[in-house]
C-alpha cells in the first residue's frame, strides 16, 4: 500500500484528540462548578487543607517542562539531535519531580486517613467529602495523563536518538509536544481551582 505522509492530517488528528481530552476534563469541571456552587463555604474551608506550596512548585515544574518540550522541537527542526534528546530528558525529569511531589502530597493525606471512602471522610460534612473526592479524582486522572505523556515522550526520545525523528520528519515529536502542553494546561486549571481559591 502506498503510504503518503500527511503531516497536516496527523496534526489535525492530534488537535481533535486534544479536544476530546479537554471535554473529558470538562465534565469534571462541570461537576466541580455545580458542587462548589452548592457547598461554597465548605469548599472554601476544605481548600485550606491543601498544601499550596507543593502545588506551586508543581506548577512551576510543569511550566518549565512545557518550555523544554518546545525547545526540543526547535532543536530537532534545526537538526541538533543531541540538544533535542537533552531537552526531552529534562522534560522527563520535571515529570519525575512532579510525581515525587504528588507522592508526598497524597501520602500525607492517606496517612491521616483523608481519602475517599475512609471512615474519617465519610463522617465529614458533605461539602468536604465532595471537595476531597474531586481533588483525588481530578488530580488522579491528571497524573494518569502525565504518566501516559511521559511514556510517549520516552518513545519519542529514543526515536530522536536513533534518527527516525529528524529535521525532515518530526510530526510525531510535535504531536507528543502538543499532548504534553495539554497535560500542562489541565494542571494550570486544576491548580487555582483546588489550591488557590481558599
Amino acid at each position: 500500500m502506498e503510504m503518503n505522509r500527511d503531516d497536516e492530517g496527523a496534526k489535525l488528528g492530534m488537535w481533535i484528540f486534544i479536544f476530546t481530552e479537554i471535554l473529558l476534563f470538562g465534565g469534571l469541571f462541570l461537576v466541580y462548578a455545580v458542587m462548589r456552587n452548592r457547598y461554597s463555604d465548605e469548599f472554601h474551608q476544605a481548600a485550606h487543607q491543601l498544601n499550596a506550596f507543593i502545588g506551586t512548585v508543581n506548577t512551576v515544574v510543569l511550566l518549565l517542562s512545557s518550555a523544554t518540550v518546545a525547545m526540543s522541537i526547535t532543536a530537532v527542526r534545526k537538526g541538533e539531535k543531541r540538544k533535542g534528546v537533552l531537552f526531552i530528558l529534562i522534560t522527563l525529569l520535571c515529570a519525575g519531580v512532579f510525581l515525587i511531589n504528588k507522592y508526598f502530597e497524597w501520602g500525607h493525606k492517606l496517612s491521616i486517613g483523608l481519602y475517599p471512602g475512609s471512615e474519617m471522610m465519610v463522617g465529614l460534612k458533605h461539602g468536604y467529602i465532595l471537595f476531597f473526592s474531586l481533588y483525588f479524582f481530578m488530580t488522579g486522572l491528571h497524573v494518569l495523563h502525565l504518566i501516559a505523556g511521559s511514556i510517549i515522550l520516552t518513545i519519542i526520545m529514543v526515536r530522536i536518538q536513533i534518527g527516525s525523528i529528524n529535521a525532515g520528519n518530526n510530526v510525531l515529536l510535535e504531536n507528543g509536544g502538543l499532548y504534553w502542553h495539554l497535560v500542562d494546561l489541565i494542571w494550570i486549571f486544576l491548580f487555582p481551582l483546588l489550591y488557590l481559591i481558599t
Binding site: M1, I16, G27, V31, Y115, I129
Partner: protein
C-alpha cells in the same frame, strides 16, 4: 506490458493466510466487514434476548423466569443493542467500507488507528458481556445506569460501565479518523459541496462522536469510582446529586441517537436517487441539515428529564429546542419524497428497505414529538409508548437503513448478487412483524402499561400477545434475510448493478485492494442523472 495485476481486496496476498490475514489487515474495506460480522453476532444475541422478554410477557404473571432475571435481560439487551450495535452501526460498517470509495480515496487517513478502533470495539464488547458471567450477577440498572441505583445495586455494574467506556473510546477514534479523512483525502476537485451525501452525514456524525462521547466517558468513570471508593458525586447520602448524573448521561446520550440515525439518513439519501434515477432534490438542504441536526441535537438532552426535577423555564426551553431539532429531520424526509416524484422508480430490495425506513422513521419521529412536548410526555413517560417510540427510531430507522445499505452495497462488497425474490419476502416479514411487534405498545402505553415491567394488568394482555406474535414474525424475516444473503453464493455482480452515479460504482466489484487504479478527478456534482 507493465500492467499490474490488481487483486480484489477479498483475496489474501500478504504475509498471512486465512483469518489472520483479516485480523491484521488495515484495509478499510476489510475492517468494515469485520465490524459487520461482529455486529451481526451481537445483534442476533440481542434479538434473541428481546424474544425471551416477549415470551415472558405473553401472559400476565410469571411464566418462565423471575422479575430479577427480566431486569437483567432488558439491561443487557439494551447495552448490546445500543453500545455494540447501533452506536458503531452504519458508520463503522458502511462508513468504513464505502466512505473512502465515495470520496475517491485509497483508505482512511489513519489505517492502523482504524484497526485499533476495531480491537477496542471487540475488547469493550467483551468487557461489557463479561458482566453477565463475572461478579455478583448481571447488572439490573437498565442501559442508562441511573444513579443512585447503579451505585447501590450489588450486581456487576462496573464491568458493563467500563465496557461502555472502552466502546466509547473506540467510537471517538473512528470519528477522529473520519473527520481527518474527509478533510484531507477527498479526490481532486471534490469540494465539500460536490461530496456525496453519505460522507456528509458521516462527517456530521463524526463531530458528534468526538465532541459528545468524552462527557459520557468521564461520567462512566465517575460511576466506577463511586462504586469502588464511595466518592459521592451522585450519591445523595454523601452529598452528591443523582440529577446531575442524568444531565451528564443525556448530554451524550441524546446526541448519540444522532450518531445512530445520521448515517442511516445518509444511506437512504444515496439509495433513493439511484433507484429513482433522479438527482437528489435539495442537495444543499440535506447536507446542511445534517450539520444542523448535529448542532441543535446538542441542546435538547433534558427532554429525557421532564419528570425528574427541573425548573419550569428549563423544561419549556428544552421542549422548544426539541421541536426545533425535528425541523431538519423533516426537511430530509420531504427531500427524499420529492426526489422520488416523477422519477423512473425501480422497486428493488434496497429501495424497498429504504421506503420501509421512511415509513417507520416517520412514525417514530411523529410520536417523538408527543414525547417532546411537556404535557403529553408526563402522561406517557416511562410507559411502553416510549419503548415503541425508540424501537421505531432505532430499529425501524437505523435497523432498516442498515438492511437497506446491506442490500445496496452487498454486490460491491462480495462481487455477488443475491436472490431478489427472497429479499422481498424477507422484507415483507420484517415490515409486518415489526409493526405488529411495536404498534400495540403505543396503545397499551397510552393506557398506562409501564416500561421495564415483567408483569402487567389483564387489560394489557391482548396488546402484549399481538406484540409477541409480531416479534416472532420479525424473527422469521431476519432469518430469511440472513440466509438469503449469506448461505450460498449468488451470480457474479456487475460493477454497477443499480445504475448508481457515485464513485464506488466506477470500480470493479469487489473493489481492488487500493480501490482506484488512478485517483479520480471530480468535475461536477455527485448525482448527475438525466
Amino acid at each position: 506490458m507493465a500492467e499490474t495485476i490488481t487483486h480484489s481486496y477479498l483475496e489474501n496476498t500478504g504475509r498471512y493466510k486465512g483469518i489472520l490475514a483479516w485480523l491484521t489487515s488495515t484495509d478499510h474495506k476489510r475492517i468494515g466487514l469485520m465490524y459487520m460480522y461482529a455486529m451481526m453476532v451481537f445483534f442476533i444475541v440481542g434479538v434473541l434476548l428481546g424474544e425471551l422478554m416477549r415470551l415472558e410477557l405473553f401472559r400476565p404473571g410469571q411464566q418462565f423466569y423471575s422479575a430479577q432475571t427480566y431486569n437483567g435481560i432488558f439491561t443487557i439487551h439494551g447495552i448490546i443493542m445500543i453500545f455494540t450495535v447501533v452506536i458503531p452501526g452504519l458508520a463503522a460498517v458502511f462508513g468504513n467500507f464505502c466512505m473512502p470509495l465515495l470520496i475517491g480515496a485509497r483508505d482512511v487517513a489513519f489505517p492502523r488507528l482504524n484497526l485499533f478502533s476495531w480491537y477496542l470495539y471487540i475488547l469493550g464488547a467483551a468487557i461489557a458481556l463479561s458482566s453477565q458471567f463475572l461478579g455478583n450477577g448481571p447488572p439490573d440498572t437498565g442501559w442508562t445506569f441511573y444513579a443512585p441505583y447503579s451505585i447501590q445495586t450489588h450486581t456487576n455494574v462496573v464491568a458493563a460501565v467500563f465496557g461502555a467506556f472502552v466502546l466509547g473510546f473506540s467510537s471517538i477514534l473512528t470519528g477522529l479518523n473520519f473527520i481527518v479523512t474527509i478533510h484531507r483525502l477527498r479526490a481532486a476537485g471534490m469540494t465539500f459541496f460536490r461530496m456525496p451525501l453519505f460522507p456528509w452525514s458521516l462527517y456530521a456524525t463524526a463531530w458528534i462522536q468526538v465532541l459528545a462521547t468524552p462527557i459520557v466517558g468521564i461520567t462512566l468513570l465517575m460511576v466506577i469510582a463511586e462504586r469502588w471508593l464511595r466518592i459521592g458525586f451522585f450519591d445523595p447520602s454523601l452529598g452528591g446529586d443523582p440529577i446531575l448524573y442524568q444531565h451528564l448521561f443525556w448530554i451524550y446520550s441524546h446526541p448519540a441517537v444522532y450518531i445512530m440515525i445520521l448515517p442511516a439518513m445518509g444511506v437512504i439519501t444515496e439509495i433513493i436517487p439511484t433507484f429513482a434515477q433522479r438527482r437528489v432534490f435539495g442537495y444543499k438542504a440535506i447536507a446542511l441539515s445534517s450539520l444542523a441536526i448535529a448542532l441543535v441535537g446538542y441542546f435538547v438532552w433534558a427532554h429525557h428529564m421532564y419528570t425528574s426535577g427541573m425548573s419550569i423555564t428549563a423544561r419549556w426551553v428544552f421542549s422548544l429546542l426539541t421541536f426545533l431539532v425535528a425541523v431538519p429531520s423533516a426537511i430530509k424526509v420531504f427531500n427524499w419524497v420529492t426526489t422520488m416524484y416523477k422519477g423512473s422508480i425501480s422497486v428493488k430490495p434496497p429501495f424497498l428497505f429504504a421506503l420501509g425506513f421512511i415509513f417507520l422513521f416517520m412514525i417514530g419521529g411523529l410520536t417523538g414529538l408527543s414525547l417532546g412536548s411537556l404535557a403529553t410526555d408526563i402522561h406517557v413517560h416511562d410507559t411502553s409508548y416510549v419503548v415503541a417510540h425508540f424501537h421505531y427510531i432505532i430499529f425501524g430507522g437505523v435497523g432498516f437503513a442498515f438492511f437497506a445499505a446491506l442490500h445496496y452495497w452487498y454486490p460491491k462488497m462480495y462481487g455477488r448478487m443475491y436472490n431478489f425474490r427472497r429479499a422481498n419476502i424477507a422484507f415483507g416479514f420484517l415490515f409486518v412483524g415489526f409493526n405488529l411487534l411495536y404498534f400495540p405498545q403505543f396503545v397499551i402505553g397510552i393506557m398506562g402499561m409501564p416500561r421495564r415491567y415483567f408483569d402487567y394488568l389483564p387489560q394489557f394482555t391482548l396488546g402484549h400477545q399481538l406484540s409477541t406474535i409480531g416479534g416472532f414474525i420479525l424473527l422469521i424475516g431476519i432469518i430469511i434475510m440472513l440466509v438469503n444473503l449469506f448461505s450460498k453464493k449468488g451470480v457474479k455482480a456487475p460493477d454497477n448493478p443499480w445504475g448508481g452515479k457515485t464513485l464506488e460504482w466506477t470500480i470493479p466489484s469487489p473493489p481492488p485492494v487500493e480501490n482506484f487504479d488512478e485517483l479520480p478527478v471530480i468535475t461536477g456534482e455527485p448525482y448527475y442523472f438525466e
